[in-house]
């Protein structure tokens, strides 16, 4: 049964405009000009060129320059970043003039219409010298439209001069040397537009319809310093956003919780994590990498009844001696998600560490093993007091 056409014609025309422009028309107006303000129009179809937003300039020699007009584009970092095949990430948030985000203690901040969250994904031939030969692969935008967030993937061109809207995503085989000097090859997937929901769809309540939400910009992830440079120097990101009038309702930074800062893991490996911090570090890692699905209000992952959010206190649902529902190849032949004291027989560790398609986790965004992250989870499970799950 087909429904009458009605207003769908207009929507399709919008898609048509995208499709037509995607065939080569240049609506960017001549590239980025940082003397001009950011341009975000939430009443029009998204531009086909990333430069049309005028958010930042990128130059292999000097790196990123964010639009300084009105200081509305603010770079930031997260205490615990998501792993994406070793991609080098640079995040920033843009808010329209006069608008502010509202602080939330646990969930992502409430951002006003017109907000742009941007994340650049880059790779370098040798991650021990990441700024040498770095190339941008893609820039993902989350743009806050009046009816919700729109995920917009832009893929950078070969000349690294601009990125083009790519609703269909992209697939690239990328060879590189990892931060430990190992040769690796990633089957790097730029998600298609509809795939963004795999990680970004969340139900506001267990019974509500899912909606697209950002993942990173939460108090506990943003509560850290950032080297803004210039006269600002290195200050707390929450304080900086508040000082710019871009964040309201935030309590004193000292009272805001902070996710465990995984920078030490990235620089020194699991050996750099004090034993007393293993639990906090591993839970922080699982939270950012897994809990967008493994959460009671997520869409994907709910079937598993395995909940890996930082605030889950139910050890069974965290995986302790828990049999998976229907993990198939994902079990690796093991029986329990976490066997305390025995990482090498724990499905959770197996799925993080394997590169076998059909078994590996997360579902998207990883084709190679995050060696240091897997080592962290291995050490975390190994440090648990042993339990004989089969005897329980």
């Amino acid at each position: 049964m087909r429904r009458p056409l009605g207003r769908r014609g207009a929507t399709l025309a919008g898609a048509l405009a995208v499709a037509l422009a995607g065939c080569g028309a240049d609506d960017a107006g001549g590239g980025v000009d940082l003397s001009q303000p950011v341009h975000v129009d939430v009443t029009a179809p998204p531009p086909t060129k990333l430069s049309a937003y005028n958010l930042f300039a990128w130059d292999p020699a000097t790196g990123y320059t964010f639009n300084p007009t009105d200081e509305r584009v603010v770079p930031y970092d997260l205490n615990a970043p998501l792993f994406s095949d070793y991609a080098l990430k640079q995040r920033a948030v843009y808010l329209p003039a006069g608008a502010a985000a509202t602080y939330q203690p646990e969930l992502v901040f409430d951002f006003p219409v017109g907000t742009v969250l941007l994340k650049n994904f880059a790779m370098a031939p040798d991650l021990r010298t990441p700024t040498v030969g770095m190339r941008l692969i893609e820039t993902r935008l989350l743009v806050r439209y009046p009816d919700g967030w729109q995920p917009l993937p832009y893929v950078w061109n070969a000349d690294q001069t601009d990125a083009e809207l790519a609703p269909a995503g992209d697939f690239q085989v990328i060879a590189f040397t990892d931060d430990a000097g190992q040769a690796r090859t990633a089957n790097y997937l730029v998600p298609q537009k509809n795939q963004c929901e795999t990680c970004h769809a969340r139900k506001p309540t267990p019974t509500a319809a899912p909606a697209i939400v950002p993942i990173g910009p939460k108090a506990r992830h943003l509560n850290r310093t950032y080297p803004f440079g210039g006269a600002v120097g290195t200050v707390n990101q929450l304080d900086r956003l508040a000082a710019l009038g871009m964040l309201t309702g935030a309590p004193a930074t000292a009272t805001v919780p902070a996710a465990y800062d995984l920078r030490a893991l990235e620089t020194g490996g699991v050996a750099a994590i004090p034993p007393a911090d293993l639990d906090a570090a591993a839970r922080s890692y699982l939270d950012i990498n897994c809990a967008h699905c493994h959460d009671p209000n997520a869409v994907q992952g709910i079937t598993s009844q395995l909940f890996l959010g930082h605030d889950n206190t139910d050890l069974f649902r965290l995986g302790y001696c828990k049999r998976p529902g229907s993990a198939g190849a994902g079990t690796g032949g093991f029986e329990f998600d976490i066997v305390p004291g025995s990482p090498d027989t724990s499905i959770l560790y197996f799925r993080l560490a394997t590169e076998t398609v059909g078994a590996m986790m997360p579902l998207l965004g990883r084709s190679v093993t995050h060696t240091k992250g897997a080592a962290l989870v291995h050490a975390w499970i190994a440090a648990m007091p042993p339990v004989d799950c089969a005897a329980m």
Binding site: L12, A19, A168, G169, V173, G328, L363
Partner: protein
């Protein structure tokens, strides 16, 4: 109502998928009312761009040919119909896909997929999740490497959805279940063929399912219904009727998980199930046995893992007599109860139980039956108040298991809780009419027809 010829044609032109009537011999936008886009066979970029810029209520007609997919076809709009030129004419081939994705991945009400083949998906062939109104018609989900444990898990996979119809389709060579209906409500599965899978056709944690006219041939297990622990949709009202379930003796090639424990040679089992009718089916040459009625304790012996908070349970459940859990405010669903097995035909099964299954169920059967055929219907008697190997009067039928009127059908119950490969309790093997299991009707009346909108 006329179709939007201009818009569709313009969009097709924009996507450089030049129309060619020879490419759309069976189905085309000319047959469709409403918004419709034709994609030439093989035009992957055009297809992906269309799907990712889609308005609701759009029909996508795929031309003849093979689409060499490098990523999932992800549909996130309502009212999308995806129609090819036939299972031998239009193929979405995921052989080139390196990412760990499903072939066709859908969330959107009123979805229809028809007349195409999906092959070699890294994960599931066609997965439709959390959608109301789902039709699979004349499609094939397959893998080109039979018996390979790296094949994807499920071929045809509606999950957490309502009002689902799967008909006239084929599911082949899945390393878990070929046709898997999981956690759905109001489902008709009819006239499909499932072959070469580990589990042919599975109905899991599903309510109101009518499964008929299907053929399950050469799987590890044919057609099964079960609940898994901890799921808030308690399976109920499942009819398995008038199916052909034969030669399900395929070696179990599952890479792991619960399904890897299924003995090869299994026709049907109902596990942790209630209000099930298994009627009018033809069972033939399933080497371990035709029908097993078993509790969920074989896969999860801890009854506390089967506790469900009553406040969280979906749909109607309080008429089911679920027994309370140890924790307050919970019930459990591990028992199989209220099942009718009638008017089935049994031929040639139970002669070679699988001796390799990890549960050692086949070993137990060999020890009990030696070279005699395993009884057509086996019941584990978990939850029964009384069990005796010899005295019918000392057997209870607490779980209301009704068996009778089957052609060539025999019955045994087995007190599974006391059995092991090293110590066997003789089975209770009554002659027809199998008292006290000679009831003929479900408690609460027969299962109603499933009505789809």
């Amino acid at each position: 109502m006329t179709r939007t010829t201009l818009t569709a044609a313009t969009l097709v032109a924009a996507l450089a998928a030049c129309g060619d009537d020879n490419n759309f011999p069976t189905n085309s936008c000319a047959d469709v009312t409403g918004t419709c886009v034709q994609i030439d066979g093989g035009d992957v970029a055009g297809l992906q761009t269309t799907v990712n810029t889609l308005s609701p209520n759009t029909t996508i007609v795929l031309g003849k040919g093979t689409f060499a997919m490098t990523n999932s076809l992800t549909i996130r709009a309502a009212g999308v119909h995806l129609i090819g030129q036939g299972i031998d004419a239009t193929t979405l081939d995921y052989g080139p896909t390196a990412a760990q994705v499903n072939g066709v991945d859908v969330q959107g009400d009123d979805f229809l997929v028809q007349d195409l083949t999906v092959q070699d998906a890294p994960k599931d062939g066609i997965r439709v999740e959390a959608s109301d109104g789902v039709v699979f018609r004349r499609i094939r989900a397959t893998w080109t490497t039979p018996g390979d444990s790296t094949n994807g898990a499920y071929g045809i996979y509606p999950v957490k959805s309502q009002h689902v119809l799967v008909e006239d389709s084929r599911a082949e060579h899945a390393s878990d279940a070929g046709l898997y209906v999981g956690q759905c409500q109001h489902v008709i599965v009819r006239n499909n063929v499932v072959t070469g899978n580990v589990a042919g056709l599975e109905i899991e944690n599903t309510q109101y399912a009518d499964v008929y006219g299907n053929t399950a041939d050469d799987n590890t297990a044919g057609i099964v219904a079960f609940d898994l622990p901890g799921n808030p949709i308690v399976g109920r009202d499942v009819r398995l009727r008038d199916n052909i379930i034969k030669n399900n003796n395929h070696v179990n090639f599952a890479p792991g998980g619960t399904v890897a424990k299924i003995p090869s040679g299994t026709g049907t089992f109902a596990m942790a199930s209630r209000r099930v009718e298994i009627t009018g089916n033809t069972y033939q040459n399933n080497n371990t046995g035709d029908i097993a009625l078993i509790s969920g304790l074989v896969i999860e012996p801890d009854t506390t893992k089967w506790e469900l908070a009553t406040a969280t349970i979906a749909g109607t459940w309080d008429d089911l007599g679920l027994i309370p859990g140890a924790a307050p405010g919970t019930v459990t669903n591990y028992r199989s109860e209220d099942i009718v097995v009638a008017r089935n035909t049994h031929m040639g099964s139970g002669l070679h139980p699988d001796l390799a299954d990890p549960l050692q169920f086949g070993v137990l059967l060999i020890l009990i039956y030696a070279t005699n055929p395993v009884d057509s219907v086996l019941y584990d008697a978990v939850g029964e108040a009384m069990f005796s190997s010899t005295d019918p009067a000392m057997n209870s039928n607490t779980n209301h298991i009704c068996v009778g009127g089957n052609t060539g059908g025999t019955f045994a119950s087995m007190n599974l809780a006391e059995q092991s490969a090293s110590q066997q309790v003789p089975f209770f093997r009554p002659a027809a009419p199998f008292a006290p299991f000679d009831c003929t009707a479900l408690t609460g009346g027969p299962i109603a027809d499933v009505v789809l909108p």
